[in-house]
Symmetry: D2
Subunit: 405 residues, 4 copies
């Protein structure tokens, strides 16, 4: 990694909600090596509150908890002795409850909360004027909350001003930003690359083979999935089908509606009435006995006739450079989309971490589709870019854009 | 099972080629309980020739080899003491080489040979005037060889007369009938049911999740598939895409071409020039860590507008009654297509054998497809209906039609 | 199966507690084909009470629920139309609560209850004078409750008279009989065979590799076991270590202690103070990603010097004929111990059901142990002989002995 | 990693035989980041000879091949542009045949050859005066070849002088050093720690659960191991049983025998006639569906009475500091034995890489054994310390001892 540039010389205090859960553990693993963000507070349920993190968590990561620091590492390199000391380690942080009061020194809070509790807690954090980046699904459909896949539509952050303005009372710093469902995130990245190169997509048919880690812990019972495929994940197909529309859609300004001070209201262009032509999405979701890595078989039909050739598609995917890279988000993958030429790659076990520790996605088998135009497979790391990594890059982008301060 | 009717009172001598392989073992397991067919000869490579079957085979079935008889069981019930005797057991049969001479007392020969040797051997058996039902791919594309999924197109057997007539010298009994690739077989059954009910299909997009047993033994290395998905099976997508056309297509009689004695030539209506409107097929094939049972996610677009509703599709699938049932083939499944209502079924581990020990297929999750018309999943037992069971039903049908005698 | 003899012409009404759980489902699958026992009542938690069984259960067996009858099949063969009728099917039985009142027409009740509720419920059933055969662990250590592996120590049923006599008020029909933990059951069968042939064992060291179905449903989270081994199963090693002693030990009559009417008290010879020399047992338990079938690596040291040779051990195991076979229990395996000669067998996936649908066990790799005397592997079907099958054979034995009437 | 000390400022040219195989790929992955060793030559079969490595290998590591350099990294930090250049990458090295001529500029050659070819090739390399560190089994039993587990008995390197002297003609630089079988390596490390602390062990009984990667590629067919346990690995138990004796035994000097120049002959104290009391080892080996990481359940009996308590054993294991650490071998693990306190750890999926990327081993569940004295589980990374890492540390030790120069 190159030495920190000016834009990287930051030290930002962050908190994590749902810190003992699967997503929370992943947030902590990533933050413990983050160049800017420093873990200031961990929140979990009352059962964990008041305990040292190591005593509250059932740690399920392959990286030992004991080795993890609090982040901010490339800015002020902590000495080895400090790192080994009691208080510089995540393991020794005393877990708090999930109330805004306990997080008021945090500039950013990440939420890995389960959906059944995320609604009220996240809302309370926003009302307490805290910038919250959430992996939960609760506010993804909210017309004032952006749903951001950082390699695709970080510019949707622009809706935050309206979210803050319409809040009662209006907020100066607090907001909620959500990232997408893991299976949406993976496949929407190549879709965005294709739309950028070849114009709007007309139809996409996606069949997923999703890893068990996508369901959290304890998640999928082993009797259900060992040597098996389950052709159903509750709510997943619906999420893919509408999240894709919100993410790939634009934001339009109303001609007629405005808020009380006369500012025209902005709307997500979900139904493609305005800017982009309609996009039809059909998803079939399956659970497979894989630990990490969602595989998705994707077929695409473009509006453009004749459609691009497989070779043009391959080149466009490999050349895709999202804004987060040029802007300098430290967690942005060096390559957004790794394109494999081998006929049998990517594969989850071999390749899920290969593209920058799971921050980018991998595409393979780009070829003609006899029914639509082009088909390919995409592999994404559902616990990285599909979850915590996306939240973190969204926060980095917000920092660089001055939305968090 | 009902008592044998007149048409079932038969005792037909059969042989198995490739008897020690994966498909061969499955043939033997099925034949050992068959009401008509009696195992007369087993053929394998020179390495096995002359050995007792039990010493030649590395038995990989969950039913112990030692318990298996020679078939023909419902016709002449062998007494228990006979069954335990040395010579009434498959285990003690002395394996022969794969030459027609050693099989000349067989009325039917089943081939579970690998493709690299099947070409010459199967051709030699046909030339020796032996009726051969093959699971190998070698002759599937032959314009005079029927490619039969017994629940779909057994009537294609009618091409045999031409196959025999064009052979030099013409044959009275010998012929080759092939059954389809396992992944084609599973999904083409519901397609046939849908075409029967709603007329021609215009497009089908299928994504497979295929079991390791489909690749034989040793087959897929465990390092490739344990906790993994491989998004590629060599040649498989091509097979699905063209086999579907041959199976669902008709047989047309030429206006202009005829053979030497003036009989008009019959042709498989592969390209839909004649009878049926074009059908476009797009397949994406994946290997998953499942032992038995191919899952396939299928999306279909009909010619008929408006298309049938999911409920109509569900009913048509459940009501599908192939000719092999009405004709009384003893290995025909009681139900061709089991339709599940539960949202998460069928599943390979629970349901692969559920539909009549794998002789029928299972369909679930019938629902609207936002891109094409209707989508569903189909589960088929790749080692049963997807392989040996199909060959055996084809042979039963040929017996009932008087083609084998 | 031979035609029913006089002793088999019975029709006994039975109930199942915990009918919707994993063990309960297995009880029902077995009872639906039982020659004597007819399902009269199914009990489950309040959540299920009042529902049809098919609506209350999440059926996880590979045999479809819809096909299962109520048992008693070989005695009065129900006609096909009856079998297809609404009320002759397990699927349509209305589930009751687990109270003795609702089971008073049952002559035998099987318990597949979880340990956290089994204690009070089972006790209430006994007090209501009902014969109860339990798979739960709660009463295994009770000094008046036999712990029976039916292929090993059914004669321990003799303690029931004392259990009934000491109950307040004394019972005429009610009692509790337990069967052993699944991992104990599997390996104690060859141990019993060895003690019968060669006298007492001095030491046994057993390392288990246990299937996930042993933990019930939802049981082991897939994230814990997929591609993994967990070297720990809570409480399992202790169970193996003391259950072995109770099962292989005798019952001794006290010289000094007697109950109020002067009958000398019987005691399980747990600590080998009396009859048999001490036996030391060391167990190491592991969970492995296998669906069904516990594998156990066993090393044994005998008291007898010189110890038997591996070949003598092999013969003694193969020749072992437990009393339940000679007595004619219908669910007794035809062969108690199947001994494999192949170096790499038995294996769970191939062999778990091979020995009489899991009612017997399989042993392989009998060879010298350089530290103790002899070592071997044993495979048992943890959901059959390791659970429901044992309870059922115990009940059959009790019927034949006139203890249930 | 701390900055290189004087002893680390080296640049040693190394070669790899069997470079395209599983062990070879692991050698290359490790060497590509090695501070001293620089890859100079790669050898493989004639099929690969002359091709770029990337075209010859079917790369199966989770680290992308394209990123790997040639090693020697901490000594002369290659600039980024060089790293990206064509020739500084392993991927672009042209593969040679396995003949000494093509490796004569190498100071050390590592062999990941299969046993069926390793015998002749390794012997030829030694005769060509090349220092060869082999992972193959062929010379492990040779009375002049050390069998070294680097955390246990690197001092056995002292036999090399005799190996060179007895060679005809005598060698100045060439020799063969072997490392142990993967399953031996893992469990012998805690055994050595225990012998160091508590004196000789009398008996050890070990049951292994071994990962599929131990069998190489293609190795174990998936049909054999998916959802299964195979209780047999050909030759493995014998290897563990005798390799343990050679590794834990001493080297004794003969009183009577000497070579031609009168130097007394040294012998491995395999049979404990001399120095150490007899050690009895009993191994039972199983293959389980785990990708990486051998789990072993070990029971030990000491000569010392009373034996150490579990707590003393735990402390002795945690405190074990092998000579390779104090001497400064760069690939030595920071902690030789990680001792877990959690009841259910270590586990292969979570912990196999945890102890210094698999260079150390992990022990858990230390407790009393009712039959022997103490039992525990040990987890080792069979592809790291169990294979390539051991060879590399052995070579580092040889460099530091001046045996390689």
């Amino acid at each position: 990694m190159p030495p920190p540039t000016v834009s990287q010389s930051r030290k930002i205090r962050v908190g994590v909600l749902g810190a003992t859960g699967t997503v929370g553990q992943r947030f902590i693993t990533l933050l413990s090596e983050h160049p800017w963000f420093v873990i200031e507070a961990l929140g979990a349920s009352d059962r964990s509150k008041g305990k040292r993190y190591k005593d509250a968590v059932k740690w399920k990561q392959t990286i030992p908890l004991v080795g993890l620091g609090l982040g901010g590492v490339s800015v002020e390199r902590v000495s080895l002795s400090d790192l080994q000391g009691d208080e510089g380690r995540v393991a020794n942080v005393v877990v708090k409850g999930c109330t805004p009061d306990e997080f008021k020194t945090c500039q950013i809070v990440f939420s890995g909360l389960d959906a059944d509790v995320a609604g009220n807690i996240e809302s309370a954090f926003r009302s307490a004027n805290i910038a919250l980046f959430s992996n939960a699904k609760n506010y993804r459909r909210d017309p004032n909350v952006p749903l951001i896949v950082p390699l695709v539509n970080p510019s949707h952050l622009s809706i935050i001003a309206q979210q803050q303005r319409l809040h009662s009372p209006p907020l100066s710093k607090g907001f909620i930003v959500t990232n997408a469902n893991c299976s949406t995130t993976g496949y929407v990245i190549p879709l965005a690359a294709l739309e950028k190169a070849f114009g709007p997509i007309e139809s996409v048919l996606v069949t997923t083979m999703q890893a068990i880690s996508g369901a959290g812990y304890p998640g999928v019972p082993s009797l259900d999935i060992l040597g098996n495929v389950v052709p159903y994940i509750s709510g997943e197909e619906e999420k893919i089908e509408w999240e894709t529309l919100k993410i790939l859609g634009g934001i339009t300004e109303s001609d007629s509606e405005s808020d009380s001070d006369g500012t025209p209201l902005k709307t997500f262009d979900m139904h493609q009435a305005g800017g982009r032509p309609p996009l039809r999405v059909s998803a079939s979701c399956n659970r497979v006995p894989v630990v990490d890595g969602h595989m998705e078989c994707v077929s695409v039909r473009f509006h453009q006739r004749p459609p691009p050739s497989p070779q043009q598609v391959r080149e466009a995917l490999g050349a895709f450079t999202p804004e987060i890279q040029s802007l300098g988000c430290p967690s942005a993958p060096r390559k957004a989309i790794e394109v494999f030429e081998e006929p049998d790659r990517p594969q989850p076990r071999l390749d899920v971490k290969g593209n920058h520790n799971g921050a980018g996605v991998s595409v393979g088998r780009v070829r003609q589709c006899p029914v639509l135009d082009v088909k390919f497979v995409v592999l994404s790391d559902n616990v990285s870019i599909g979850a915590a990594t996306s939240s973190i890059i969204n926060a980095e982008y917000a920092v660089l854009k001055g939305v968090v301060y």
